[in-house]
Protein backbone atom coordinates (compact mmCIF):
# COMPACT_ATOMS: atom_id res chain seq x y z
CA UNK A 1 0.00 0.00 0.00
CA UNK A 2 2.82 2.31 0.94
CA UNK A 3 4.64 1.54 -2.26
CA UNK A 4 1.49 2.28 -4.28
CA UNK A 5 1.12 5.72 -2.68
CA UNK A 6 4.84 6.34 -3.16
CA UNK A 7 4.46 5.35 -6.77
CA UNK A 8 1.49 7.72 -7.21
CA UNK A 9 3.40 10.59 -5.61
CA UNK A 10 6.43 9.88 -7.77
CA UNK A 11 4.36 9.92 -10.95
CA UNK A 12 2.33 12.94 -9.87
CA UNK A 13 5.42 14.98 -9.14
CA UNK A 14 7.43 13.64 -12.04
CA UNK A 15 9.05 16.01 -14.52
CA UNK A 16 8.05 13.60 -17.27
CA UNK A 17 4.45 14.11 -16.21
CA UNK A 18 5.02 17.89 -16.38
CA UNK A 19 6.35 17.52 -19.90
CA UNK A 20 3.40 15.35 -20.93
CA UNK A 21 0.98 17.89 -19.48
CA UNK A 22 2.72 20.77 -21.26
CA UNK A 23 2.28 18.92 -24.54
CA UNK A 24 -1.36 18.13 -23.72
CA UNK A 25 -1.98 21.78 -22.90
CA UNK A 26 -0.41 22.90 -26.19
CA UNK A 27 -2.51 20.40 -28.11
CA UNK A 28 -5.59 21.46 -26.16
CA UNK A 29 -5.04 25.11 -27.05
CA UNK A 30 -4.79 24.24 -30.76
CA UNK A 31 -7.85 21.96 -30.62
CA UNK A 32 -9.81 24.63 -28.74
CA UNK A 33 -9.72 26.76 -31.87
CA UNK A 34 -11.11 24.06 -34.11
CA UNK A 35 -14.07 22.99 -32.04
CA UNK A 36 -17.35 24.65 -31.23
CA UNK A 37 -18.42 22.09 -28.66
CA UNK A 38 -20.00 23.63 -25.55
CA UNK A 39 -17.53 21.80 -23.30
CA UNK A 40 -14.51 22.94 -25.29
CA UNK A 41 -13.07 25.00 -22.42
CA UNK A 42 -12.34 21.77 -20.59
CA UNK A 43 -9.67 20.77 -23.11
CA UNK A 44 -7.61 23.64 -21.73
CA UNK A 45 -8.90 23.47 -18.16
CA UNK A 46 -8.09 19.79 -17.53
CA UNK A 47 -4.37 20.01 -18.42
CA UNK A 48 -4.14 23.21 -16.37
CA UNK A 49 -5.74 21.52 -13.34
CA UNK A 50 -3.42 18.54 -13.70
CA UNK A 51 -0.42 20.85 -14.08
CA UNK A 52 -1.43 22.64 -10.87
CA UNK A 53 -1.64 19.27 -9.09
CA UNK A 54 1.68 18.14 -10.57
CA UNK A 55 3.26 21.39 -9.42
CA UNK A 56 1.79 21.18 -5.95
CA UNK A 57 2.98 17.61 -5.37
CA UNK A 58 6.39 18.49 -6.75
CA UNK A 59 6.64 21.48 -4.40
CA UNK A 60 5.82 19.25 -1.45
CA UNK A 61 8.06 16.33 -2.35
CA UNK A 62 10.93 17.49 -4.55
CA UNK A 63 14.00 18.24 -2.43
CA UNK A 64 15.42 20.64 -4.99
CA UNK A 65 12.95 23.29 -3.83
CA UNK A 66 14.45 23.20 -0.33
CA UNK A 67 17.87 24.16 -1.60
CA UNK A 68 17.01 26.47 -4.48
CA UNK A 69 15.04 29.40 -3.05
CA UNK A 70 14.55 31.23 -6.35
CA UNK A 71 13.24 28.10 -8.02
CA UNK A 72 10.83 27.63 -5.11
CA UNK A 73 9.64 31.23 -5.46
CA UNK A 74 9.13 30.76 -9.22
CA UNK A 75 7.07 27.61 -8.75
CA UNK A 76 5.02 29.08 -5.89
CA UNK A 77 4.26 32.04 -8.15
CA UNK A 78 3.24 29.64 -10.93
CA UNK A 79 1.01 27.63 -8.62
CA UNK A 80 -0.64 30.80 -7.31
CA UNK A 81 -1.14 31.96 -10.87
CA UNK A 82 -2.83 28.70 -11.86
CA UNK A 83 -5.04 28.73 -8.78
CA UNK A 84 -6.03 32.36 -9.30
CA UNK A 85 -6.82 31.77 -12.96
CA UNK A 86 -8.98 28.84 -11.89
CA UNK A 87 -10.82 30.91 -9.29
CA UNK A 88 -11.17 33.76 -11.77
CA UNK A 89 -12.84 31.45 -14.30
CA UNK A 90 -15.61 30.53 -11.86
CA UNK A 91 -16.15 34.00 -10.43
CA UNK A 92 -15.78 36.38 -13.39
CA UNK A 93 -18.32 37.86 -15.76
CA UNK A 94 -17.83 39.08 -19.31
CA UNK A 95 -20.62 40.65 -21.29
CA UNK A 96 -21.74 43.40 -23.57
CA UNK A 97 -24.61 45.81 -23.85
CA UNK A 98 -25.80 48.47 -26.26
CA UNK A 99 -27.12 51.63 -24.62
CA UNK A 100 -29.14 54.26 -26.49
CA UNK A 101 -27.93 57.81 -26.00
CA UNK A 102 -29.95 59.58 -23.32
CA UNK A 103 -31.29 56.36 -21.81
CA UNK A 104 -30.44 54.16 -18.84
CA UNK A 105 -28.61 50.86 -18.87
CA UNK A 106 -31.07 48.01 -18.94
CA UNK A 107 -29.97 44.57 -17.83
CA UNK A 108 -32.54 43.03 -20.17
CA UNK A 109 -30.55 44.20 -23.20
CA UNK A 110 -27.23 42.91 -21.85
CA UNK A 111 -25.66 39.61 -22.83
CA UNK A 112 -23.10 37.92 -20.65
CA UNK A 113 -21.34 34.78 -19.58
CA UNK A 114 -20.52 34.27 -15.94
CA UNK A 115 -18.67 31.79 -13.78
CA UNK A 116 -20.76 29.46 -11.64
CA UNK A 117 -19.77 31.25 -8.43
CA UNK A 118 -20.31 34.76 -9.72
CA UNK A 119 -22.79 36.63 -7.58
CA UNK A 120 -24.59 38.63 -10.25
CA UNK A 121 -25.34 42.26 -9.35
CA UNK A 122 -25.99 43.59 -12.84
CA UNK A 123 -29.58 44.37 -11.80
CA UNK A 124 -28.16 46.87 -9.32
CA UNK A 125 -26.21 48.82 -11.94
CA UNK A 126 -27.85 52.17 -12.46
CA UNK A 127 -26.24 54.35 -15.06
CA UNK A 128 -27.35 56.57 -17.88
CA UNK A 129 -25.51 57.32 -21.09
CA UNK A 130 -26.12 61.05 -21.34
CA UNK A 131 -24.21 61.46 -24.60
CA UNK A 132 -21.01 60.42 -26.31
CA UNK A 133 -18.50 61.74 -28.80
CA UNK A 134 -16.15 59.86 -31.09
CA UNK A 135 -13.64 62.00 -32.92
CA UNK A 136 -12.21 61.19 -36.33
CA UNK A 137 -9.33 62.71 -38.23
CA UNK A 138 -8.54 62.65 -41.93
CA UNK A 139 -5.92 60.02 -42.76
CA UNK A 140 -4.55 59.10 -46.15
CA UNK A 141 -7.73 59.74 -48.09
CA UNK A 142 -9.87 58.09 -45.43
CA UNK A 143 -10.41 58.72 -41.73
CA UNK A 144 -9.00 57.32 -38.52
CA UNK A 145 -10.80 57.01 -35.23
CA UNK A 146 -9.42 59.10 -32.39
CA UNK A 147 -10.73 59.34 -28.84
CA UNK A 148 -14.09 58.15 -27.52
CA UNK A 149 -15.76 59.96 -24.66
CA UNK A 150 -18.98 58.86 -23.03
CA UNK A 151 -20.70 61.25 -20.62
CA UNK A 152 -22.42 59.19 -17.96
CA UNK A 153 -24.31 59.62 -14.72
CA UNK A 154 -24.61 56.77 -12.25
CA UNK A 155 -25.61 55.83 -8.75
CA UNK A 156 -22.69 54.68 -6.63
CA UNK A 157 -22.86 51.94 -4.01
CA UNK A 158 -24.03 54.42 -1.37
CA UNK A 159 -26.79 55.64 -3.70
CA UNK A 160 -25.07 58.96 -4.47
CA UNK A 161 -25.54 60.44 -7.94
CA UNK A 162 -22.23 60.71 -9.81
CA UNK A 163 -21.32 62.31 -13.09
CA UNK A 164 -18.28 61.59 -15.20
CA UNK A 165 -16.61 60.96 -18.51
CA UNK A 166 -15.38 57.51 -19.46
CA UNK A 167 -13.90 56.18 -22.67
CA UNK A 168 -11.05 54.32 -24.36
CA UNK A 169 -8.83 53.26 -21.45
CA UNK A 170 -11.05 54.63 -18.65
CA UNK A 171 -13.94 52.32 -17.77
CA UNK A 172 -16.97 53.15 -15.65
CA UNK A 173 -16.71 51.16 -12.42
CA UNK A 174 -19.79 50.29 -10.36
CA UNK A 175 -20.00 47.43 -7.84
CA UNK A 176 -16.72 46.06 -9.19
CA UNK A 177 -18.10 45.85 -12.73
CA UNK A 178 -16.04 47.67 -15.32
CA UNK A 179 -17.91 49.05 -18.30
CA UNK A 180 -15.64 49.86 -21.21
CA UNK A 181 -16.73 51.91 -24.19
CA UNK A 182 -16.14 50.05 -27.45
CA UNK A 183 -15.75 51.01 -31.09
CA UNK A 184 -19.26 49.62 -31.58
CA UNK A 185 -21.80 52.33 -32.11
CA UNK A 186 -24.62 53.04 -34.49
CA UNK A 187 -27.96 54.65 -35.18
CA UNK A 188 -31.17 54.06 -33.29
CA UNK A 189 -34.57 55.23 -34.55
CA UNK A 190 -36.87 56.17 -31.66
CA UNK A 191 -40.54 55.23 -31.76
CA UNK A 192 -43.71 56.06 -29.91
CA UNK A 193 -46.52 53.52 -30.05
CA UNK A 194 -49.97 54.88 -29.28
CA UNK A 195 -52.31 51.91 -28.91
CA UNK A 196 -56.04 52.57 -29.31
CA UNK A 197 -56.46 50.97 -25.94
CA UNK A 198 -53.88 51.44 -23.23
CA UNK A 199 -50.95 53.73 -22.53
CA UNK A 200 -48.38 54.91 -25.11
CA UNK A 201 -45.03 53.13 -25.15
CA UNK A 202 -41.67 54.53 -26.29
CA UNK A 203 -38.66 52.59 -27.45
CA UNK A 204 -35.84 52.35 -29.93
CA UNK A 205 -34.35 49.89 -32.37
CA UNK A 206 -30.59 49.57 -32.83
CA UNK A 207 -29.32 49.32 -36.37
CA UNK A 208 -26.13 47.30 -36.89
CA UNK A 209 -22.85 48.98 -35.95
CA UNK A 210 -21.75 51.85 -38.15
CA UNK A 211 -19.60 52.20 -40.24
CA UNK A 212 -18.72 48.51 -39.92
CA UNK A 213 -22.11 47.50 -41.38
CA UNK A 214 -22.67 50.67 -43.37
CA UNK A 215 -24.40 48.79 -46.18
CA UNK A 216 -26.69 46.83 -43.92
CA UNK A 217 -28.55 49.44 -41.89
CA UNK A 218 -31.69 47.36 -41.46
CA UNK A 219 -33.55 45.77 -38.59
CA UNK A 220 -37.04 44.70 -37.54
CA UNK A 221 -39.43 46.13 -34.97
CA UNK A 222 -41.94 44.01 -33.11
CA UNK A 223 -44.67 46.42 -32.05
CA UNK A 224 -45.36 45.70 -28.39
CA UNK A 225 -48.63 43.94 -27.59
CA UNK A 226 -49.42 43.29 -31.27
CA UNK A 227 -48.60 40.80 -33.98
CA UNK A 228 -47.11 43.53 -36.17
CA UNK A 229 -43.53 43.05 -37.19
CA UNK A 230 -42.18 45.83 -39.39
CA UNK A 231 -38.99 45.96 -41.40
CA UNK A 232 -36.82 49.08 -41.06
CA UNK A 233 -34.04 50.55 -43.15
CA UNK A 234 -32.09 53.74 -42.63
CA UNK A 235 -31.24 55.77 -45.70
CA UNK A 236 -29.08 58.90 -45.88
CA UNK A 237 -26.55 60.59 -48.15
CA UNK A 238 -25.04 63.07 -45.68
CA UNK A 239 -21.36 62.05 -45.30
CA UNK A 240 -20.79 61.61 -41.58
CA UNK A 241 -17.00 61.81 -41.74
CA UNK A 242 -14.84 64.27 -43.59
CA UNK A 243 -11.63 63.12 -45.25
CA UNK A 244 -10.36 66.70 -45.22
CA UNK A 245 -11.01 68.03 -41.72
CA UNK A 246 -11.62 66.63 -38.20
CA UNK A 247 -15.12 65.23 -37.75
CA UNK A 248 -17.29 63.46 -35.20
CA UNK A 249 -19.70 60.57 -35.32
CA UNK A 250 -23.13 62.23 -35.54
CA UNK A 251 -26.70 61.79 -36.72
CA UNK A 252 -27.08 62.39 -40.50
CA UNK A 253 -29.16 65.43 -41.34
CA UNK A 254 -31.07 63.90 -44.25
CA UNK A 255 -31.93 60.56 -42.67
CA UNK A 256 -35.11 58.88 -43.85
CA UNK A 257 -36.53 55.80 -42.22
CA UNK A 258 -37.91 53.30 -44.70
CA UNK A 259 -40.56 51.11 -43.13
CA UNK A 260 -42.13 48.08 -44.75
CA UNK A 261 -45.31 46.62 -43.34
CA UNK A 262 -46.20 43.48 -45.27
CA UNK A 263 -46.18 44.74 -48.91
CA UNK A 264 -46.63 48.41 -48.04
CA UNK A 265 -43.59 50.71 -48.06
CA UNK A 266 -43.35 54.00 -46.14
CA UNK A 267 -40.68 56.70 -45.93
CA UNK A 268 -40.76 58.48 -42.59
CA UNK A 269 -39.12 61.65 -41.33
CA UNK A 270 -39.05 62.51 -37.61
CA UNK A 271 -42.58 63.21 -36.36
CA UNK A 272 -44.29 61.22 -39.12
CA UNK A 273 -46.36 58.14 -38.36
CA UNK A 274 -48.13 55.06 -39.68
CA UNK A 275 -51.62 54.13 -38.62
CA UNK A 276 -52.42 50.53 -37.82
CA UNK A 277 -55.76 48.97 -36.93
CA UNK A 278 -54.81 48.84 -33.27
CA UNK A 279 -52.76 52.01 -32.92
CA UNK A 280 -50.35 54.57 -34.34
CA UNK A 281 -46.60 54.15 -34.73
CA UNK A 282 -44.71 57.43 -34.66
CA UNK A 283 -41.08 57.82 -35.76
CA UNK A 284 -39.91 60.14 -32.97
CA UNK A 285 -36.47 60.81 -34.42
CA UNK A 286 -33.07 59.29 -34.98
CA UNK A 287 -30.72 58.70 -32.07
CA UNK A 288 -27.43 56.84 -31.58
CA UNK A 289 -26.32 53.91 -29.45
CA UNK A 290 -22.99 52.86 -28.03
CA UNK A 291 -21.73 49.38 -27.21
CA UNK A 292 -20.16 48.73 -23.81
CA UNK A 293 -18.08 45.78 -22.72
CA UNK A 294 -18.94 44.58 -19.21
CA UNK A 295 -16.17 42.97 -17.21
CA UNK A 296 -15.92 41.71 -13.67
CA UNK A 297 -12.91 39.89 -12.28
CA UNK A 298 -11.79 40.60 -8.73
CA UNK A 299 -8.62 38.56 -9.24
CA UNK A 300 -6.98 40.79 -11.87
CA UNK A 301 -4.59 42.51 -9.49
CA UNK A 302 -3.66 39.23 -7.80
CA UNK A 303 -3.09 37.46 -11.13
CA UNK A 304 -0.71 40.23 -12.11
CA UNK A 305 1.02 39.93 -8.72
CA UNK A 306 1.40 36.15 -9.05
CA UNK A 307 2.75 36.49 -12.61
CA UNK A 308 5.33 39.02 -11.50
CA UNK A 309 6.26 36.90 -8.47
CA UNK A 310 6.81 33.86 -10.71
CA UNK A 311 8.84 35.91 -13.16
CA UNK A 312 10.89 37.45 -10.37
CA UNK A 313 11.63 33.94 -9.08
CA UNK A 314 12.57 32.73 -12.57
CA UNK A 315 14.84 35.72 -13.21
CA UNK A 316 16.48 35.20 -9.81
CA UNK A 317 16.98 31.50 -10.58
CA UNK A 318 18.65 32.20 -13.92
CA UNK A 319 20.76 34.95 -12.39
CA UNK A 320 21.94 32.66 -9.62
CA UNK A 321 22.70 29.99 -12.18
CA UNK A 322 24.53 32.05 -14.79
CA UNK A 323 25.93 35.19 -13.11
CA UNK A 324 28.68 33.49 -11.05
CA UNK A 325 30.24 32.10 -14.24
CA UNK A 326 29.95 34.55 -17.15
CA UNK A 327 30.19 32.59 -20.39
CA UNK A 328 33.22 34.48 -21.74
CA UNK A 329 35.17 34.05 -18.47
CA UNK A 330 34.17 30.41 -18.39
CA UNK A 331 35.41 29.94 -21.93
CA UNK A 332 38.72 31.57 -21.06
CA UNK A 333 39.08 29.34 -17.99
CA UNK A 334 38.35 26.21 -20.03
CA UNK A 335 40.93 27.29 -22.63
CA UNK A 336 43.58 27.77 -19.95
CA UNK A 337 42.72 24.40 -18.44
CA UNK A 338 43.22 22.78 -21.83
CA UNK A 339 46.59 24.49 -22.33
Amino acid sequence: MKSLSNCLITYSASLKTTLFLFLTLGLGVVLWHFTEHRLKDWIITIPLLLLAFNLMVALLTNKIFRVQGWLLLFHIGLLLLLLLIGISQVTKLIGSVEVTQGTEFSVSSAQWEQGIFHSNRLEQLKFKLESFTINYAPAYGSVKRLDTQAYVTWLDEEGGLKKGVVGDKVPLEIYGYKLYTTYNKGFAPMFNWYPKQGLPISGSVHFPAWPEFELNQTNELQIPGTAYRVWLKLSFFDPIFSTEKPSQFRIPQDAILIVRVDEQRYELKPGEFIDFKTGRLEFAGLNTWMGFQIFYDWSLFWILGASLLALFGLAGHFWQKFAPSPWLDDLEKKKKEKQ
Binding site: W32, H33, D168, Q293, L331
Partner: protein, 271 residues
Protein backbone atom coordinates in the same frame (compact mmCIF):
# COMPACT_ATOMS: atom_id res chain seq x y z
CA UNK B 1 9.82 59.90 -49.26
CA UNK B 2 12.72 59.48 -51.69
CA UNK B 3 15.29 60.03 -48.94
CA UNK B 4 13.45 57.47 -46.85
CA UNK B 5 13.60 54.89 -49.65
CA UNK B 6 17.21 55.67 -50.43
CA UNK B 7 18.23 55.29 -46.79
CA UNK B 8 16.40 52.00 -46.56
CA UNK B 9 17.94 50.61 -49.72
CA UNK B 10 21.43 51.68 -48.64
CA UNK B 11 20.83 50.10 -45.23
CA UNK B 12 19.84 46.81 -46.85
CA UNK B 13 22.87 46.95 -49.15
CA UNK B 14 25.12 47.49 -46.11
CA UNK B 15 23.52 44.59 -44.25
CA UNK B 16 23.93 42.36 -47.30
CA UNK B 17 27.60 43.31 -47.67
CA UNK B 18 28.11 42.49 -43.98
CA UNK B 19 26.35 39.15 -44.47
CA UNK B 20 28.33 38.28 -47.58
CA UNK B 21 31.58 39.12 -45.82
CA UNK B 22 30.50 36.91 -42.89
CA UNK B 23 29.85 33.98 -45.27
CA UNK B 24 33.09 34.54 -47.25
CA UNK B 25 34.98 34.86 -43.98
CA UNK B 26 33.83 31.42 -42.89
CA UNK B 27 34.18 29.77 -46.32
CA UNK B 28 37.63 31.19 -47.09
CA UNK B 29 38.84 31.30 -43.48
CA UNK B 30 39.41 35.07 -43.61
CA UNK B 31 39.04 37.60 -40.80
CA UNK B 32 36.64 40.31 -41.94
CA UNK B 33 35.28 40.94 -38.47
CA UNK B 34 35.93 44.69 -38.32
CA UNK B 35 34.47 45.21 -41.81
CA UNK B 36 31.42 43.16 -40.90
CA UNK B 37 30.85 45.20 -37.76
CA UNK B 38 31.38 48.43 -39.74
CA UNK B 39 28.84 47.51 -42.45
CA UNK B 40 26.31 46.32 -39.90
CA UNK B 41 26.66 49.61 -38.01
CA UNK B 42 26.40 51.70 -41.18
CA UNK B 43 23.31 49.71 -42.16
CA UNK B 44 21.80 50.25 -38.72
CA UNK B 45 22.35 54.02 -38.83
CA UNK B 46 20.85 54.28 -42.34
CA UNK B 47 17.97 52.08 -41.28
CA UNK B 48 17.35 54.33 -38.27
CA UNK B 49 17.25 57.34 -40.62
CA UNK B 50 14.71 55.58 -42.88
CA UNK B 51 12.50 54.65 -39.92
CA UNK B 52 12.83 58.15 -38.44
CA UNK B 53 11.86 59.87 -41.71
CA UNK B 54 8.81 57.62 -42.09
CA UNK B 55 7.87 58.23 -38.47
CA UNK B 56 7.98 62.01 -38.98
CA UNK B 57 5.99 61.73 -42.22
CA UNK B 58 3.24 59.46 -40.85
CA UNK B 59 3.29 60.71 -37.25
CA UNK B 60 3.33 57.23 -35.75
CA UNK B 61 5.91 54.59 -34.98
CA UNK B 62 6.69 51.56 -37.16
CA UNK B 63 4.16 49.08 -35.79
CA UNK B 64 1.09 49.06 -37.98
CA UNK B 65 1.61 47.60 -41.43
CA UNK B 66 3.49 44.46 -42.36
CA UNK B 67 6.23 46.62 -43.90
CA UNK B 68 6.62 48.67 -40.72
CA UNK B 69 6.66 45.61 -38.48
CA UNK B 70 9.25 43.87 -40.65
CA UNK B 71 11.35 47.01 -40.81
CA UNK B 72 11.30 47.73 -37.09
CA UNK B 73 11.93 44.10 -36.19
CA UNK B 74 14.80 43.87 -38.64
CA UNK B 75 16.22 47.00 -37.03
CA UNK B 76 15.97 45.68 -33.47
CA UNK B 77 17.21 42.20 -34.40
CA UNK B 78 20.20 43.82 -36.09
CA UNK B 79 20.81 46.04 -33.06
CA UNK B 80 20.62 43.04 -30.75
CA UNK B 81 22.96 41.02 -32.97
CA UNK B 82 25.45 43.88 -33.34
CA UNK B 83 25.68 44.17 -29.55
CA UNK B 84 26.20 40.41 -29.33
CA UNK B 85 28.78 40.48 -32.14
CA UNK B 86 30.69 43.26 -30.43
CA UNK B 87 30.64 41.57 -27.02
CA UNK B 88 31.07 37.87 -27.86
CA UNK B 89 34.15 37.87 -30.06
CA UNK B 90 34.83 34.10 -29.95
CA UNK B 91 31.55 33.32 -31.69
CA UNK B 92 31.54 36.08 -34.31
CA UNK B 93 31.45 33.60 -37.22
CA UNK B 94 27.84 32.90 -36.16
CA UNK B 95 27.09 36.00 -38.28
CA UNK B 96 27.35 33.64 -41.28
CA UNK B 97 24.30 31.81 -39.91
CA UNK B 98 22.32 34.74 -38.47
CA UNK B 99 22.64 37.34 -41.23
CA UNK B 100 21.32 35.05 -44.01
CA UNK B 101 18.21 34.49 -41.85
CA UNK B 102 17.81 38.25 -41.71
CA UNK B 103 18.26 38.39 -45.53
CA UNK B 104 14.88 36.64 -45.75
CA UNK B 105 13.30 39.38 -43.66
CA UNK B 106 15.03 42.04 -45.75
CA UNK B 107 13.76 40.57 -49.02
CA UNK B 108 10.27 40.18 -47.57
CA UNK B 109 10.35 43.76 -46.32
CA UNK B 110 11.52 45.20 -49.64
CA UNK B 111 8.84 43.32 -51.60
CA UNK B 112 6.06 44.22 -49.17
CA UNK B 113 3.98 47.27 -50.16
CA UNK B 114 5.29 50.29 -48.27
CA UNK B 115 1.75 51.59 -47.72
CA UNK B 116 0.76 53.44 -44.60
CA UNK B 117 -1.84 52.26 -42.11
CA UNK B 118 -4.22 53.94 -39.72
CA UNK B 119 -3.45 54.10 -36.03
CA UNK B 120 -6.35 52.73 -33.98
CA UNK B 121 -7.16 54.54 -30.73
CA UNK B 122 -6.32 51.35 -28.81
CA UNK B 123 -2.69 51.66 -29.98
CA UNK B 124 -2.27 55.00 -28.24
CA UNK B 125 -0.84 53.67 -25.00
CA UNK B 126 2.52 53.29 -23.29
CA UNK B 127 1.76 49.56 -22.87
CA UNK B 128 2.08 49.12 -26.62
CA UNK B 129 5.69 50.29 -26.43
CA UNK B 130 6.47 48.14 -23.44
CA UNK B 131 4.76 45.08 -24.96
CA UNK B 132 6.53 45.47 -28.31
CA UNK B 133 9.86 46.30 -26.67
CA UNK B 134 9.85 43.08 -24.62
CA UNK B 135 8.84 41.12 -27.72
CA UNK B 136 11.78 42.47 -29.66
CA UNK B 137 14.28 41.51 -26.94
CA UNK B 138 12.72 38.03 -26.89
CA UNK B 139 13.17 37.57 -30.65
CA UNK B 140 16.69 39.04 -30.52
CA UNK B 141 17.73 36.59 -27.81
CA UNK B 142 16.27 33.62 -29.73
CA UNK B 143 18.03 34.80 -32.91
CA UNK B 144 21.40 34.70 -31.16
CA UNK B 145 20.58 31.20 -29.86
CA UNK B 146 19.66 30.19 -33.42
CA UNK B 147 23.13 31.36 -34.50
CA UNK B 148 24.73 29.02 -31.97
CA UNK B 149 22.34 26.20 -32.85
CA UNK B 150 23.06 26.71 -36.53
CA UNK B 151 26.78 26.20 -35.98
CA UNK B 152 26.13 23.06 -33.90
CA UNK B 153 23.95 21.57 -36.63
CA UNK B 154 26.25 22.62 -39.49
CA UNK B 155 29.18 21.00 -37.73
CA UNK B 156 27.56 17.66 -38.42
CA UNK B 157 28.75 18.11 -41.99
CA UNK B 158 32.38 17.45 -42.66
CA UNK B 159 33.01 20.62 -44.75
CA UNK B 160 31.44 22.86 -42.12
CA UNK B 161 33.17 21.15 -39.22
CA UNK B 162 36.47 22.43 -40.58
CA UNK B 163 35.13 25.92 -41.24
CA UNK B 164 33.91 26.29 -37.68
CA UNK B 165 36.83 24.43 -36.11
CA UNK B 166 38.19 27.50 -34.33
CA UNK B 167 34.93 28.17 -32.52
CA UNK B 168 34.27 26.91 -28.99
CA UNK B 169 33.02 23.35 -28.57
CA UNK B 170 29.41 22.40 -29.18
CA UNK B 171 28.87 22.12 -25.42
CA UNK B 172 30.06 25.70 -24.91
CA UNK B 173 27.90 26.96 -27.78
CA UNK B 174 24.94 25.05 -26.41
CA UNK B 175 25.53 26.62 -23.00
CA UNK B 176 25.60 30.11 -24.52
CA UNK B 177 22.52 29.39 -26.61
CA UNK B 178 20.55 28.32 -23.56
CA UNK B 179 21.64 31.35 -21.59
CA UNK B 180 20.05 33.43 -24.34
CA UNK B 181 17.01 31.17 -24.36
CA UNK B 182 16.64 31.88 -20.63
CA UNK B 183 16.72 35.61 -21.39
CA UNK B 184 14.17 34.95 -24.15
CA UNK B 185 11.81 33.23 -21.68
CA UNK B 186 11.98 36.15 -19.26
CA UNK B 187 11.24 38.69 -21.99
CA UNK B 188 8.60 36.55 -23.70
CA UNK B 189 6.81 36.27 -20.33
CA UNK B 190 7.14 40.02 -19.79
CA UNK B 191 5.75 40.57 -23.28
CA UNK B 192 2.69 38.46 -22.46
CA UNK B 193 2.13 40.25 -19.14
CA UNK B 194 2.47 43.72 -20.72
CA UNK B 195 0.20 42.58 -23.56
CA UNK B 196 -2.42 41.43 -21.06
CA UNK B 197 -2.29 44.81 -19.29
CA UNK B 198 -2.72 46.55 -22.64
CA UNK B 199 -5.57 44.25 -23.69
CA UNK B 200 -7.40 44.89 -20.41
CA UNK B 201 -7.14 48.62 -21.01
CA UNK B 202 -7.93 48.54 -24.70
CA UNK B 203 -10.53 45.80 -25.06
CA UNK B 204 -11.74 45.16 -21.52
CA UNK B 205 -10.26 41.65 -21.26
CA UNK B 206 -6.70 40.63 -20.45
CA UNK B 207 -6.74 37.41 -22.43
CA UNK B 208 -9.17 36.41 -25.14
CA UNK B 209 -7.48 33.54 -27.00
CA UNK B 210 -7.53 35.51 -30.24
CA UNK B 211 -5.28 33.88 -32.87
CA UNK B 212 -2.26 36.02 -32.02
CA UNK B 213 -2.66 35.44 -28.29
CA UNK B 214 -3.06 31.71 -28.93
CA UNK B 215 0.07 31.46 -31.04
CA UNK B 216 2.01 33.70 -28.67
CA UNK B 217 1.02 31.31 -25.86
CA UNK B 218 2.04 28.26 -27.92
CA UNK B 219 5.41 29.89 -28.67
CA UNK B 220 5.85 30.57 -24.95
CA UNK B 221 4.87 26.99 -24.12
CA UNK B 222 7.34 25.52 -26.62
CA UNK B 223 10.03 27.79 -25.17
CA UNK B 224 9.16 26.53 -21.67
CA UNK B 225 9.21 22.92 -22.91
CA UNK B 226 12.60 23.54 -24.53
CA UNK B 227 14.12 24.91 -21.33
CA UNK B 228 12.39 22.26 -19.24
CA UNK B 229 13.78 19.48 -21.43
CA UNK B 230 17.25 21.00 -21.32
CA UNK B 231 17.16 21.32 -17.52
CA UNK B 232 15.72 17.92 -16.71
CA UNK B 233 16.70 15.49 -19.46
CA UNK B 234 20.03 14.90 -21.06
CA UNK B 235 19.48 16.49 -24.43
CA UNK B 236 22.25 16.37 -27.00
CA UNK B 237 23.52 19.74 -28.27
CA UNK B 238 21.95 18.94 -31.62
CA UNK B 239 18.53 18.16 -30.12
CA UNK B 240 18.76 21.42 -28.19
CA UNK B 241 19.55 23.26 -31.42
CA UNK B 242 16.49 21.82 -33.18
CA UNK B 243 14.28 22.89 -30.28
CA UNK B 244 15.73 26.40 -30.51
CA UNK B 245 14.88 26.43 -34.24
CA UNK B 246 11.33 25.35 -33.40
CA UNK B 247 10.93 28.26 -30.96
CA UNK B 248 12.35 30.68 -33.53
CA UNK B 249 10.08 29.45 -36.31
CA UNK B 250 7.01 29.61 -34.07
CA UNK B 251 7.98 33.07 -32.82
CA UNK B 252 8.59 34.22 -36.38
CA UNK B 253 5.22 32.93 -37.59
CA UNK B 254 3.45 34.41 -34.59
CA UNK B 255 5.04 37.83 -35.06
CA UNK B 256 4.84 38.12 -38.82
CA UNK B 257 2.13 35.73 -39.89
CA UNK B 258 -0.80 35.56 -37.52
CA UNK B 259 -1.55 39.31 -37.11
CA UNK B 260 -2.03 39.59 -40.85
CA UNK B 261 -4.33 36.65 -41.44
CA UNK B 262 -6.74 37.16 -38.56
CA UNK B 263 -9.43 39.76 -37.91
CA UNK B 264 -8.73 39.82 -34.19
CA UNK B 265 -8.45 43.16 -32.39
CA UNK B 266 -4.67 42.85 -32.39
CA UNK B 267 -4.82 43.95 -35.99
CA UNK B 268 -6.45 47.14 -34.85
CA UNK B 269 -10.06 48.19 -34.96
CA UNK B 270 -10.97 50.72 -37.54
CA UNK B 271 -14.67 51.34 -36.95
Amino acid sequence: MEQEQLSLWLAVVSYVIAGMLAIFGVVFAKKYEKSILFFMLVGLVLHAVAIGLRWIRLEHGPYLTMFEILSSNLFTLMLFFILFYWRYKPVRPSAAVVLPILFIMMAWMMFTPHDSGMLPASFDTIWLWIHIGFGKVFMGAVLVAVGMGGIIVLRKYHWAEKKFANLPSNERLDDLAFRFMAVALIFDSLMLIAGALWAQDAWGRYWGWDPLETWAFITWLVLVITLHLRATFKLSCEQGAYLIFAVFILGFLTFYGVPFISDAPHQGTFG
